[in-house]
Every structure is written in C-alpha cells, then in structure tokens.
C-alpha cells in the first residue's frame, strides 16, 4: 500500500519532539471539555426545541390555526323573489362539509316563508318530532309531516299532532341582495329549540 505516512491512522507518538504536542489527552483540560459539553448540550437542546415548533404546528393542524372559516352560508338566491311570498317556498340548499382537503356536498330541504311579523324566515324541513322531512300541502295551507301526521302553520307554528314544538327557524342573512342561510341541526323531542350542530 501507500507509503505516505499521513494516509494511515496516526499512532500517538509516545515522545513528541516538537512543542505543539500531538494528541491532547482527554484528561488535559477537563474543565474546558466539560464546559463545552454543557454549552453544546444546552444550545443543541434549544435549537432542537426551536426546530420542533414548525413540526408540531404542522402535524397538529388545526390546533394552532387561526379562525378556520367558521360556519358556512348557503345561497338561497336573490332576496327579491321572496318579498311577495304567497306560500312557503320549498328550496334545496347545498351544504358543504370540509374533511381536510376534501369537501362533501349534501343537499338539505328548507322552506322560505313569512314569519309572524312579516319578515322572511327560513325553516328547516326536519320535523322536531322524529326528524322526518315535513312537506308543504298547498290545498290545506299547512305543513304536514308524512311520518306521524304533525301539522304546522305556514310560518312554522305548531298546529296539531305529536311534535313537541313548531318548526325550527334557521339563522339567515342578506349578502349582496341574496338570501343566505346557515344550516343547523336541532335536538328533537324537546319543547324548546336547541342547536346540536
């Protein structure tokens, strides 16, 4: 092999001839070594913790996210079309549910109607009794639940049958002249409306 002495692992010379002594022994400067050891350990730990911050924030999303959108509003079309309502209007709205990077779109039935004070209101079609879809019966001028025969007035007020309360109103708003509704689910079989999601 090679004769170049610098190619081989150098042997610690027992008796170094030159003043810059090779192979500083581990016992030579124990204080300096220990100090650097502590310095490296502490600064290494600090840097490691700092580096973990983005990892934790990324992997635990959405724990550290600021305001992830809030509830979604569904479009019911221009407000104008509801000002002259003669009877409750059945509308199918699209509900968007976010599941990570996926979005599920489902359809829900709501009724746009006039409330007691003449204001436009939106009622969910879910019966407060057992959750069947309430139908509007034009000839009899009331809502009728096909499952157990509950009936409601055009503004959703309870008339007859097993339901414990009237039909539930949904939060609405008007954006750029369009009626928007926020779909919610309510606890059934209780006399007072309770939002459950």
């Amino acid at each position: 092999m090679s004769e170049g002495p610098n190619l081989e692992k150098p042997e610690p010379s027992p008796d170094p001839p030159s003043p810059p002594v090779p192979a500083p022994e581990t016992t030579g400067q124990p204080d300096r070594r220990r100090f650097i050891g502590w310095l490296l350990s502490i600064s290494g730990a600090v840097v490691a913790v700092l580096l973990c911050i983005p990892l934790v924030r990324e992997s635990l999303y959405p724990v550290f996210a600021k305001g992830t959108g809030g509830p979604g509003w569904s479009d019911l079309g221009p407000m104008d079309q509801y000002t002259q309502l003669a009877a409750p209007a059945r509308q199918v709205i699209k509900i968007k549910t976010l599941d990570g990077w996926r979005q599920t779109i489902s359809e829900k039935v709501v009724y746009v109607t006039k409330g007691p004070n003449g204001k436009v209101e939106v009622l969910t079609a879910v019966c407060p009794h057992l959750g069947c879809e309430v139908a509007w019966v034009q000839d009899q001028d009331h809502f009728h639940c096909p499952c157990h025969g509950g009936t409601f007035a055009p503004d959703g007020k309870y008339i007859s049958g097993p339901p414990p309360r009237g039909m539930d109103t949904l939060p609405t708003t008007v954006q750029n002249g369009r009626l928007m509704v926020q779909y919610e689910y309510f606890q059934n079989l209780v006399p007072v409306k309770q939002v459950i999601g």
Partner: protein
Amino acid sequence: MPESPISPNPHSSLPPEDHGTLAEWFDRRIGWRVPLREFLEERIPGGARWAYVFGSGLLFLLLSQAVTGIFLAMYYVPSADHAHTTVAYVMKVVTDGAFLRSIHAYGASIMVILLVIHVTQTFMYGSYKGRRELMWISGCILFALVLGMAFTGYLLPWDERAYFATAVGTNAMSEGPIIGQWLKLALRGGADMGTLTLSRFFVLHVFLIPLGLLAFVGAHLFLFRKAGPAGPPSPGTAEKKVGIFYPTQVLLDAAFALLLIIILALFAHFVPKGLGPSVNPADTSFIPRPEWYYRPLFQWLKYWEGPLVVIGILVVPGIITALFLGLPFYDRRPERRPWRRPVAVGTFCFVLGALIVLGIISYRVDNKDPVVAAQLVRQEEAEKQFMQAPFQPEVAGGSITASSTSEGSGSNPQTAKGKQIFESQGCVVCHGQGAVGTSMAVKLVGVGQQLPPDQLANLIRHPNAKMKAGGMPSFPLSDNDMKSLITYLDSLK
C-alpha cells in the same frame, strides 16, 4: 471502563446496589460511555478544520430531509387524482406546511451543492487514497441515490412543472439502448405518465431509496472510522498536530449545521417554494425544464441526435462514471498534494467546469429565445397566481353534485315526478338520497326487480307489521303519484 462495585456476596444473584449520578445509573445498564468516548475521541490528523464540515453537514441535511419528509407524508396522498390537492392543502391551509415543504425542497438543492463540495474536497485532498476504495465507492453510490431522491421527489407535487419535467426525464431514459424503452415503461407503469408513475416514484422516494441511503450511509461512516481521516494532503502536516474530534471539530460541525438551518429557514420563510397549477397533459404550450442540478445533463442531451444519441447518453457518461468510480483502483500513487497530480485534478476540474458551463448555456439559451423566455415567464406567473388563489378543496365522491341530482330526472318526466314525491313525502329521510338506504331503513335500489308494481304499491299504502315496527308510515298516494314513484324506484340502479 467504569468500575462496577463488586458485590460483597459472590453467591448473591442480586446486582450491586446503585449509587452515583443518574448518568452512571444509565451507564451501568446501557454501557454508552465507552462507545461515546470512542466516538468523540476520533483522531484528526492535522487538527480540526472547516474543510471537514461538509460530510457531517450532509448527514445533518439528510436527517432534516427525513424528518420534514415524514411530516409532509402526513398529508400527502400518492395518487394522480389527489396528490396535487393534498400538496396545495399543505401549502395553503396547514399551519407551517409551506415552511416545512420549502425546507424539504430547498434542502434537496443544498444537499446537491454540499455533495459536489464534499466530492471536490475529497478529490483535491486525495482522501480517497490508502485503502479507501470501498469508502469511495459507497460515497459514489450515495451520490447516485441522492440524485435519485431528487428526481423521484420532484414529481410528487404533481403540478405542471413536476409532471412535464419527469415526462422529459423518463423520455430521455428511453433513448438509452436495449433497456431504455423497457426502463421508461417500467418507471411510468405504462406508455404514458399516470397514477402508476406517481405510486412508483412515491415508493422509490419514501421507501426504497431511503433504505439504500440508510445502508450506504452506515457503510460509508463505518469505513470512514475504520480507515480514519486522511488529514491534510501535504506530507508532514498531519504529524505536526493531531487533533481530536471533540470538542473543536464538533463545534465546527455544529456551527456549520446551524448555518445550514439558518440559510434554509430564511429561504423557506421569505421565498417559500411555489406550487403550480395541477397537471394538464393536454397543455402543449408548457415548456418543461428540470431543476437546476439536472440542467447540465438536459443541455448535454440536446447535442446528440439520431444514431449518435448512444454516445451522448451512454458512452460518454459511462466512461466518466467508470473513471470516477474506479479512481482509487487505478490512481495508486501515494501523492496527495493537488498541484502534484495535474492529470487527475485537471480532468476533475474539466468535467466539473464542463457541467457548470453546460448549465449556464442551458439558462442562456432559454433567455435568448424570446418565445421560450416569454412562455417561461408565463409559467412562473401561473405558479404565482395559483399560490395566491385560495385553497380549493376536492369534491368527495358520493357528494350530491349537479350531475348526480339531474340523473334520474332528466329523461323521463314521470321519473322526475316520482323523485319529487320520494323527496317531498319524506321517503328520502329514512331511505336516503337516491334510496340507497340508511341506518333507519333499507335501500330501495333494485326493489322493482324483487316485487311487481302492484305489490309494491300495496306495501307503500299498507305497510306490513315488520315495516310498521321499523317506523314505516302508510302513504295514501293517488294512483298517478304511486305510478310515478314506482317508475322512479325502478329507474334506480
């Protein structure tokens, strides 16, 4: 060796009592102090130097790539229809997702730069000499594996840039003789790029090549410790002073690692890596360009056409690879000073210089052609626009979409009326959209094949006891409505 206290009773099977520091408690059980001392007291001929930080810097970056890669995989889906959406989600929605992906993507570039510096330093110092053939070869394999990681990782975001660059890359492979076509077909999983290409590149990038990296990094480090550091090339320098790995070299390595972190973090924070629009294979105007480290090769392949392509793609790269790989076997002179090895150093500098020049030419050719330059600017703009647009979630399968709701109501008015009855009478509440069934009631799809219409109508008007028990009300529909409803149910498949 730590002195373990001798048990007073040699017949006792109980271990000696523990005392001393916590570190000693652990050391008695693990015995980590001896290997740690062995590791830290590595001798460094000639003493610690900044020139030696590149190997440990590469190891540090590899670790960073592994960690960031694992965290990116938390959101990534390796399928042609989801990959781009999931990367866009990481970039636009997930907290610090853009930061981590940028660290990962820029980390790849910095690794290639460090690799070239590391190889150059090894070459200039002649550190491959003296029973270091296997170390050199394992290093060459690591170089190839890192380039393989860069090539496979580049496709995964599945944006236009990634897609077209990989299309060109795999096409270039197919120009190789004999196995070229076969290699392209195997890598792509078909004649065209598609979801199989993505799966294969994902498995290569995340499982297979990392396994190779792990094995060869292990071998490289083991062989390095076996042979020992070569030290500075001038004879005599190494003997004057022998340093020890700890603490000086450890401090230099740590400082370099810190510098790498700071550079990466600054880039990732202030110029986050972009993501282009999703793949559109029909977009013929897109001009594919590889990442900068593949530019020299990209430019080189342009010069070879027709039958000469074999020379460009196989003969010349083959000769250079063989010369490079076999270096410690034929360059056996002990001389390590670079100025005393003009042929070797000259050849190395020529090849490295040629690669750099080819890369520069590649960029200059693009800039000089106004059509290409304008298109490349457009592509950059499209990427910026896509990054500024809000995240667009993917509409999940099974969602009610415009197309699926019009189905069954489009062609036949009676079916449409039946669907309306199904929904307004509340059947949909229990039997579900499209009568697919829910936890409350059975599915009615295909019920028309099981029951004749009159029997079905009778059951809807007068449910049997079992149906009533399940909550099925009776529906006194008119004959006409009943007919529509049954036509609708029949239409469901």
